[in-house]
């Protein structure tokens, strides 16, 4: 087995096996989770990318050290280049940035991500909420978004929706990521809003908790890093590929996180006086 990538936010300690899927094996301790993944899942702050997961699937715990990861007594060293997950401060061409944000929003408005929170931008997704649970869920999404007079009100999305990590949790992770991004590139300060959302979003779901913690700390997974680079670039970007890549994560997780991210961009950059459409 080769370790291809190592996240930069992995506390040194022992982690016990939490869950195992085809492309990912998770190890947890005290509310934090280390994810061993295949390259297709891509890099992240709390992620070890390996060329195969057999060893991870066949062990009950791993130990993260300063040198790498110990599995069944054997040390697998970190590669030289660690994945850097922090959003960097940068100067923007503001006019170009607004164009790129608009293009991203337009891309989201035409993206097919059934039963996801992208429905708040793309009404044609509404028919994908079919059974009575889904229809009630859609009504609740719409109600929360419509009535949210400030970001704190988005806390009502916590724990809501389908998926191993509920859709609402992913949305809020997207909101936190966007807030941290905008703080690095614009004269914005979301400290109060971020603290309120994060501190009140207590969940026993370890995977949700991990995503929220990373987002709160301004650490991004590879796909969102790529997205941020495109947004901040000094040229007009095409967002189709990256959006498709993001929404291919999970059943709706990627799409829900993207929805939260775009929600903040829309509010703060494109339409400071109004909310969504």
């Amino acid at each position: 087995m080769r370790i291809l990538s190592f996240g930069d936010a992995l506390p040194v300690k022992i982690y016990k096996r939490h869950s195992s899927f085809d492309k990912a094996v998770n190890f947890g301790d005290a509310g934090f989770c280390v994810c061993a993944v295949l390259p297709k899942v891509k890099q992240g702050p709390s992620t070890i990318v390996a060329d195969n997961l057999d060893l991870f699937k066949n062990c009950s715990q791993i130990e993260i050290t300063n040198e790498g990861v110990i599995i069944n007594g054997v040390l697998y060293k970190k590669p030289e280049n660690i994945y850097k997950s922090e959003i960097l401060t940068q100067t923007l061409n503001l006019k170009q940035f607004k164009i790129n944000c608009k293009n991203l929003l337009n891309c989201a408005k035409s993206t097919n991500a059934p039963q996801s929170l992208l429905v708040i931008f793309n009404k044609s997704l509404e028919p994908s909420f079919c059974n009575s649970f889904e229809k009630a869920l859609l009504a609740r999404y719409n109600q929360i978004i419509k009535e949210a007079e400030n970001y704190e009100a988005l806390l009502n999305l916590k724990g809501l929706g389908p998926g191993l990590t509920p859709a609402g949790d992913d949305f809020i992770a997207g909101v936190l990521t966007a807030m941290n991004f905008l703080e690095k590139v614009l004269p914005k300060d979301f400290k109060e809003e971020k603290n309120f959302l994060y501190k009140n979003l207590v969940t026993k779901n370890v995977l949700s908790a991990l995503g929220l913690k990373m987002a709160y700390e301004g650490r991004v997974f590879e796909r969102f890093k790529d997205l941020i680079c495109l947004l901040a670039a000094d040229n007009t970007a095409d967002f189709n590929n990256i959006v498709n890549d993001i929404i291919s994560c999970g059943a709706t997780s990627g799409a829900d996180t993207l929805a939260g991210f775009i929600f903040v961009l829309f509010t703060e950059v494109l339409n400071a006086d109004k909310r969504h459409n």
Binding site: H18, T111, S124, P127, N131, P162, T203, A251
Partner: protein, 515 residues
């Protein structure tokens, strides 16, 4: 109706497994609805709003999975829950390999040193490099992946040609090489008809029609849809022509494609001029005028005609055009009299892109057609999720497939659309394709019949009748067994035709009879 469920404590299933399990469970016998959600307070509140909450679920916490089923009775609910647990267990079983699983082409060749084809199905940005590596190792390549650049495709195909190898693809989903079906392909009779296709579903249709009409296939070589465009110049197509010319088992050559660039078309025809074997072609929607006779090629208008001509050549019989007009007129009339005057429009819902093209060609006289993959003067639909007038939809297009299995595997979106079309008072006929074989949905009947029944009941509750016309592409030797699928569809009231072209002709006649 009653609600029943279980809580799986600390159970972690990935979201896609949860979604797919919930979808499959919703079509179990007696199940009206199924939800698999984490036990957060908020989700419990939604379950309560949708009358799916039971007192037992109150005890669930964030990290628990709630499985809630609304079913006709206790027994069916218990049965459904047991099935759901089985499905989840199946998705949870990680492959515990004690046998070596190679992680590279080099590793794979150590296990199979005599392999001569590599099938590559990875994300597009990695595919070209892997294909290049396979060529370096002397392997032919079937490139299932898409999102490979034109430049990479051209470079790979030129390299392959120099090495006397072939690259089938990118986006090549179907091939049959020396009788072995690869990727999305069917179990067909072996015989003397060699096919070349820049169209996966097109190859599946012609190979199955050939087999179902008593002839057989020597080879079916896919080239990928872009091969016959100007940028690639037909490199793989021309290599395949040479291969079939030389193949001793091939006596008849059958070409299937969307229209090639005119220069490419002429190159292909020129290469066939002295093939020494009869050649039949179908270039769907081709607008280029070419004197096919000069090149000893018989060009056909539909996949069905091309397949039947090839069959007759194989059997040394004179080609007699299919004379089904009378029978189709009769069926069309019988169906049309059951419709209300406001039922005017055709709704074609397809999983195969080539069938969408063929449908628009066959149905060119019913009026303007909207499509998300329009041909000729047809209109591009404003919203592929909503029909307007006569509508033909390709559910294999990106807007339906990103992050989802292909519609030949997962019928969910199309099933929902079938039901939606039944609610539309202007729908006169629903037209479908069902493609079976390797790679396709293994339980097509179980997956589509409940949706067809619900559509029928929806129409009936509004005092309407909507005929459903379908074709089933496949053979009895396929795992799903074509005859079984046809029989079950007929039992569900579907009018099943022997080819896509025939199904389209019937649907068109119903529309005209209503007028």
């Amino acid at each position: 109706m009653l609600i029943k469920g279980i809580i799986k404590k600390g159970a972690y299933f990935d979201s896609v497994s949860l979604m797919l399990t919930a979808q499959k469970a919703s079509s179990l016998e007696g199940v009206r609805e199924c939800s698999l959600v984490m036990g957060t307070n908020e989700n419990k509140s939604i379950l309560k709003t949708s009358d799916m909450l039971t007192p037992e679920f109150e005890a669930a916490v964030d990290s628990d999975l709630i499985i809630a089923v609304k079913a006709e009775n206790d027994e069916l609910a218990d049965k459904a829950l047991a099935q759901i647990e089985k499905m989840l267990k199946k998705s949870d079983d990680s492959p515990q390999g004690s046998s070596f699983k190679p992680r590279s082409i080099e590793g794979a060749l150590k296990v199979l040193p005599n392999a001569n084809i590599a099938i590559i199905s990875v994300a597009g940005k990695y595919a070209a490099k892997l294909a290049d590596e396979a060529l370096d190792k002397g392997l032919n390549v079937m490139l299932f992946s898409d999102n490979v650049s034109v430049e990479d495709e051209r470079s790979l195909k030129l390299k392959a040609a120099q090495k006397d190898l072939i690259v089938m693809g990118p986006d090549c989903g179907t091939a049959i090489i020396n009788g072995v079906p690869l990727a999305f392909a069917n179990n067909v009779n072996k015989g003397d008809i060699g096919c070349i296709g820049a169209s996966g579903t097109g190859l599946q249709e012609v190979t199955c029609l050939v087999s179902n009409n008593g002839a057989g296939i020597s080879q079916a070589i896919g080239t990928g849809g872009r091969d016959v465009k100007e940028a690639i110049g037909g490199i793989a197509f021309l290599q395949a022509v040479e291969a079939l010319k030389q193949d001793g088992n091939t006596k008849i050559i059958l070409l299937v494609s969307k229209p090639p660039h005119k220069d490419v078309l002429y190159k292909i025809l020129e290469s066939l001029k002295h093939a020494g074997k009869p050649v039949v072609s179908v270039f769907l929607g081709g607008e280029h005028e070419a004197d096919y006779g000069q090149f000893n090629v018989t060009n056909c208008a539909t996949l069905e005609e091309a397949a039947l001509r090839a069959v007759n050549l194989s059997k040394n019989l004179e080609f007699v055009p299919l004379n089904d007009d009378g029978e189709l007129e009769r069926i069309a009339y019988e169906e049309a009299v059951k419709l209300k005057p406001e039922q005017k429009y055709l709704r074609g819902l397809f999983s195969g892109g080539t069938f969408v093209s063929e449908a628009q060609i066959v149905l060119n006289d019913i009026g303007e057609i909207s499509s998300n993959a329009p041909m000729g003067n047809n209109k591009k639909t404003d919203n592929p999720l909503l029909s307007e007038g006569h509508t033909v939809i390709d559910f294999g297009e990106d807007e339906f497939t990103v992050g989802r299995p292909h519609p030949m595997i997962d019928f969910t979106l199309r099933n929902k659309r079938i039901i939606a079309e039944a609610s539309d008072g202007t729908t006169a006929v629903i037209l479908l394709d069902i493609v079976i074989g390797y790679g396709a949905n293994m339980t097509p009947v179980e997956d589509i019949v409940p949706a067809l029944n619900e559509a029928k009941n929806t129409a009936l509750s509004n005092d309407r009748y909507i005929p459903v016309v379908a074709c089933v592409t496949g053979t009895d030797m396929d795992p799903q067994n074509r005859s079984h699928v046809v029989k079950e569809l007929q039992n569900a009231g579907v009018i099943v035709m022997h080819s896509n072209a025939q199904a389209c002709r019937l649907a068109g006649k119903i529309i005209k009879a209503v007028k």
